[in-house]
Amino acid sequence: MTRLAVPKTYKLYIGGKFPRSESGRTYEVSTKDGAFLANASLASRKDARDAVVAARAAFPGWSAATGYNRGQVLYRIAELLEGRRDQFVDELVATESLTKSAATSQVDTAIDAWIWYAGWADKYVQVAGNANAVSGPYFNMSTPEPTGVVAIVAPQSGNALLGLASVIAPAILTGNTVVVVASQAAPLAAISLAEVLATSDVPGGVVNILTGSPAEIAPWLAGHADVNAIDLAGAELLHWVDLQVIAADTLKRVLAPVNGAPAPSLERVVAFTETKTVWHTKSLI
């Protein structure tokens, strides 16, 4: 007897929950050779708005956690990713037409990048911060602090999982909360990552993942007054200069598109931090 296939409908990830798109829209995700794979939610501007509200609500708690604590949470995610590697490998094989070994290699690289970033959580302040020499009896210290809510257009061309890991981890490790527009063609890895996040220790709302059209959603995020920064990593095929112009209206930090998945770097960590400098008197004897 043949068994009917049970295709999965992939939903959005907003505020720690998995809602359908507010618009009720979905789109078909297919393999490289066009065979039906799954339905994914086609997020609307209102889903983006809800995601920003969730990210803003999560920001005070997440940014107030100690770097050590955030690091532990990120390590835990890497552990869970490791446990689900077969699922990620299968999804990458299906959506990106990779060989099994190429897919495995991508999953391994993604987990390794995640671990690499997790290690920075309680170290980047020491490296990016500074005790400044000033001409007076003062201590003068500069420390990086998280920017706030960061909107991210995830890499769109291949490397779905590695691309996601390479843009999400550096943004959240400093205490930012993020709204990610996943790869439109290959959103399955993003929602599977969301399922990992939902069962990890990351508070709901720290990472919000939207599937759908970056061309449709990105302008709303770039113009949103409650978004503090936008990472255009995967926006190379959009009118991304326009997005920069829109983002400038509300003085957002902007990272320009990169080719493929950005390599792990401390620059990506520091890109979404603000430097706070404090003066403090030296004690008088």
Partner: protein
Amino acid sequence: MNATTQGLPAQTFQAKALAPAERALSMIGGDLTEKSLRLHLEGLAGVDAVGLEQRAAALGTRSIKTTSKAWALDTIIELIDLTTLEGADTPGKVRSLVAKAVNPDPSDATTPRVAAVCVYGDMVPHAVQALGGAWSRGTDNGINVAAVATAFPSGRSSLAIKIADTSEAVAAGADEIDMVIDRGAFLSGNFGLVFDQIVAVKEACRRADGTYAHLKVILETGELNTYDNVRRASWLAILAGGDFIKTSTGKVAPAATLPVTLLMLEVVRDWHRLTGERIGVKPAGGIRTSKDAIKYLVTVAETVGEEWLTPHLFRFGASSLLNDVLLQRQKLTTGRYSGPDYVTMD
């Protein structure tokens, strides 16, 4: 029957004559006693709770978009009693509340002003002073000052203190008095006491020149337990002379809900049909988003008619609602989502 209420013999309890309030006299008849009031209130038809909640839920599903939404947002602002009722209130906080009431969105001069500011009685002089020329002084132009009185929010004090509380606020310039009913007396069946207190407070609202400050009667529906009680309390407050009936103090959960407000609007509609007189309704507490507030506007328009959507007849008691309305308004004006950084903190 020799049943007793609160330990008093039923006979003496029910024969007591009540203060002669004009509306109650004409509605119930010349022989206005505890008994006749009780018979009237208990003779009201029971509330179909399931039907009420379904109706309220159905009214909440309307989709209000574009120009209708813009109209609704401005109307909501015009209907807001901008409120601060905290133990930590200071004259400075009242001044900043007033500044926001006068000019809700400094980035957009077309934003309407709110209907009133609502403060504790001792803050009325500060509110009046801060309003300056924007104060209505009881006229239709400008912003009213509303004061909560009568041992708000519990209402647990003697009548003398409640009256003193009220007349002090009126003397200081309050245009509106938000009084609380004695829920303990109401729930123990002592309708006459509640009635007499409302009549007495109404009298305390009289100004030196013989005019009256508007009286809003807070039923605190969250403590009345049943819809039947809400209907009775609404009738009681109207019969005793209330100009407005208000759901809640905002200090008790649940505060305003759509079904309760719908029920009170139905009482107001019935009263209008019977007497031609228009009574106001004020849901207060728990209305924080424009989306919720729009549901209330729809409910008002569908129950008593659009002519009720004026500050004389409908108000929102709210503090955080205004910020959400301003964010929505900015979204409509600029076409982009706004954020909490672009409105004042409360």
